[in-house]
């Protein structure tokens, strides 16, 4: 059974993603919407963290290696209490802590600077090893994009991870999740540089690989459980996802990799995310003042 609480939070985070990208006027909706269910499952039920103490040494770490999807991370972090949701609309604005790509020095809770694709897995290996070396109970979760794993550095890390730290400190505290949404920037992954057979590739490098539906919180939870129970090796999860998930006109369309919706598109997107029909929308908004406020704000942007 999917966890209704996590599903509801993910839905709210999707609304926030659309909201903040529209205010920013730029950014990456597709990959934010494909990864949000994974991030929500991690932050609401899985991770051990204290939002009021982001430097707690034994916290679990999330490295969002596909850093352009950081709006999804900000939405989750705001919800988790790292900062107030009102700050979300400062995304990408001059002076904001919410940089266009993750900046560890700007915002407590961000574990590493990412945004140049291909670097996050190596950093995660180092973190996992460092935690093991001091016998910390913390785990490291690294999230990769499918286009991202075309980078050579990813495969250097892939080759080393099952061996690093052995025999005394194997990296079984590391779980890597591939957001396999089948689309990169220029086009579909299969048309640019196909990854298949991707499961066999990671297995050949020595990783146990699990395959799941990356929008099913139940499956995500079970895979994370299995990873946590695994001893002696890190785990790789191939999460099949849909780029732009939740918004009909963004789903599976490479055009929505890196452009922000216009206010009218954003309002339609939010309506779809909340599962409300066009005819019922006016009445619905009367019952949901929080969404109403977001929609009014967006409508005001249109007039500007």
């Amino acid at each position: 059974m999917p966890d209704a609480r996590v599903v509801a939070i993910a839905r709210q985070c999707r609304v926030q993603i659309i909201r903040m990208l529209t205010h920013a006027g730029s950014g990456h909706p597709g990959g934010s919407l494909s990864v949000i269910d994974i991030l929500t499952a991690l932050y609401f039920g899985r991770l051990r963290y204290d939002a009021k103490r982001p430097d707690w040494p034994d916290r679990d770490r999330v490295v969002l290696s596909k850093g352009h999807a950081v709006p999804a991370l900000y939405a989750v972090m705001a919800r988790a209490g790292y900062f107030h949701e009102s700050e979300l609309v400062t995304l990408r604005k001059l002076g904001s802590r919410l940089q266009g790509h993750p900046d560890r020095t700007a915002l407590p809770g961000i574990e590493a600077a990412t945004g140049s694709l291909g670097q996050g897995l190596s950093i995660s290996l180092g973190m996992a090893l460092g935690l093991k070396l001091r016998a910390a109970p913390a785990r490291v979760y690294c999230i990769l994009g499918d286009g991202e794993i075309q980078e050579g550095q990813v495969w250097e890390a892939a080759m080393s991870a099952p061996k690093l730290g052995r025999p005394d400190h194997p990296l079984d505290n590391l779980c890597v999740i591939l957001d396999y949404n089948k689309i990169q920037l220029d086009n579909f992954v299969a048309k640019i540089m196909d990854l298949e057979p991707v499961v066999a590739k990671w297995q050949a490098f020595g990783w146990p690989v699990l395959e799941i539906d990356g929008h099913d919180t139940d499956q995500i939870g079970k895979a994370l459980d299995a990873a946590e129970a695994t001893r002696g090796t890190p785990t790789f999860i191939v999460a099949h996802t849909v780029k732009g998930k939740g918004v009909s006109f963004m789903e599976n369309d490479p055009e929505w990799h890196g452009k922000a919706p216009k206010p009218a598109e954003a309002i339609r997107a939010i309506r779809e995310i909340l599962g409300v029909g066009e005819a019922a929308w006016g009445d619905y908004l009367k019952t949901d003042p929080a969404t109403r406020a977001i929609v009014d704000e967006l409508a005001a942007l249109e007039k500007k």
Binding site: Q99, G100, S116, G147, I192
Partner: protein, 308 residues
């Protein structure tokens, strides 16, 4: 001519030249829609290669293609392509492979994406390699000529292009030559050496300074390596004050190159205007103002420098 991004002018010119020259090939790393080679790829699919997000591999393949008679343009954001510096260093520079390295989205002017996508150390890196000219065209006209030059130039070369539109600054009869700069506006109190994005702001600043009775000579320093030493020394000797203006880290860019040269041959004071520290997200105008690269900021720096 209207304002146009140099990456757009690059894409158009490459398409034209590609019709005449079979040797031209493009290599991309999942940014062909941004580097503007997508049209070339559509028109000449057999001569365009998208390697996915794998810049080192792209550069290496480019080197191999160059060694077998092609003229490859390897393209990505400036930060990502120059980020593979050690591959460029050996596979392109030391090998002396005829690869044209194209870095688009240079500078903080890309704005909202923030530092990780901003190429602001690329000039410093490439300039350290002995055999790679570094060229940053100022407008559409110059970009077209520089691309044509790049095809003719035997050997590697680095082109620094912008995401944002650039106002036309070069006169219609202008002809690009390697190692030659262009005086856009003569003056006698201070030399303003501009390159790329902030160049039109230098011209605006010169107007502001004129109102204060300061006569600024504005020069388009498109060629960052090699410098136009003759023009540099001539202008610096005349004005006695040199200010460099670039959308690049203040370390190692045009300002660094000019300071190195002047300190040996004509030790006068130089002011380097550019990006201090890391870049960040923001609207491009606001970022230029923050770093003093807007007309008012440039004029203020000049007045301070001249004590006026």
């Amino acid at each position: 001519m209207a304002a146009k991004a140099s990456r757009v002018a690059f894409g158009e010119t490459l398409l034209e030249l590609g019709a005449r020259d079979e040797r031209i090939v493009t290599l991309d790393a999942d940014l062909s829609k941004s580097t503007m080679t997508a049209k070339f790829a559509k028109t000449y699919p057999a001569r365009a290669f998208n390697l996915g997000i794998a810049e080192s591999n792209m550069i290496g393949i480019g080197a191999g293609l160059a060694l077998t008679g092609r003229i490859p343009f390897v393209c990505s954001f400036a930060c990502f392509v120059v980020g593979r510096f050690e591959t460029i260093r050996i596979s392109v520079a030391y090998t002396n492979a005829n690869v044209k390295i194209v870095g688009t989205h240079s500078g903080i002017a890309i704005g909202e994406d923030g530092y990780s996508q901003m190429g602001i150390e690329d000039i410093a890196c490439i300039r350290a390699l002995p055999n790679i000219p570094v060229i940053q065209p100022a407008d559409e006209l110059e970009t077209k000529q520089v691309i044509a030059y790049a095809v003719e130039h035997a050997g590697p070369l680095y082109l620094r292009l912008t995401r944002q539109s650039l106002d036309p600054v070069c006169p219609a009869d202008y002809r690009f030559q390697l190692g030659r700069w262009l005086v856009l506006r003569p003056g006698h109190d201070v030399t303003l050496l501009g390159t790329g994005g902030p160049l039109s702001n230098c011209l605006e600043a010169a107007k502001l300074l004129e109102a204060d009775g300061i006569s600024a000579e504005v020069i388009n320093a498109a060629c960052i390596k090699p410098l136009d030493e003759e023009l540099l020394l001539g202008s610096a000797g005349k004005t006695g004050h040199v200010v460099t203006v670039e959308d690049h880290a203040i370390h190692g860019g045009l300002g660094g190159a000019v300071a190195e040269t002047l300190s040996e041959v004509m030790p006068i004071e130089v002011r380097r205007l550019g990006v201090q520290g890391f870049g960040e997200s923001g609207d491009p105008k606001g970022l230029y103002a923050k770093h003093g690269l807007d007309p008012a900021g440039i004029a203020t720096s000049v007045r301070k420098f001249l004590n006026r």
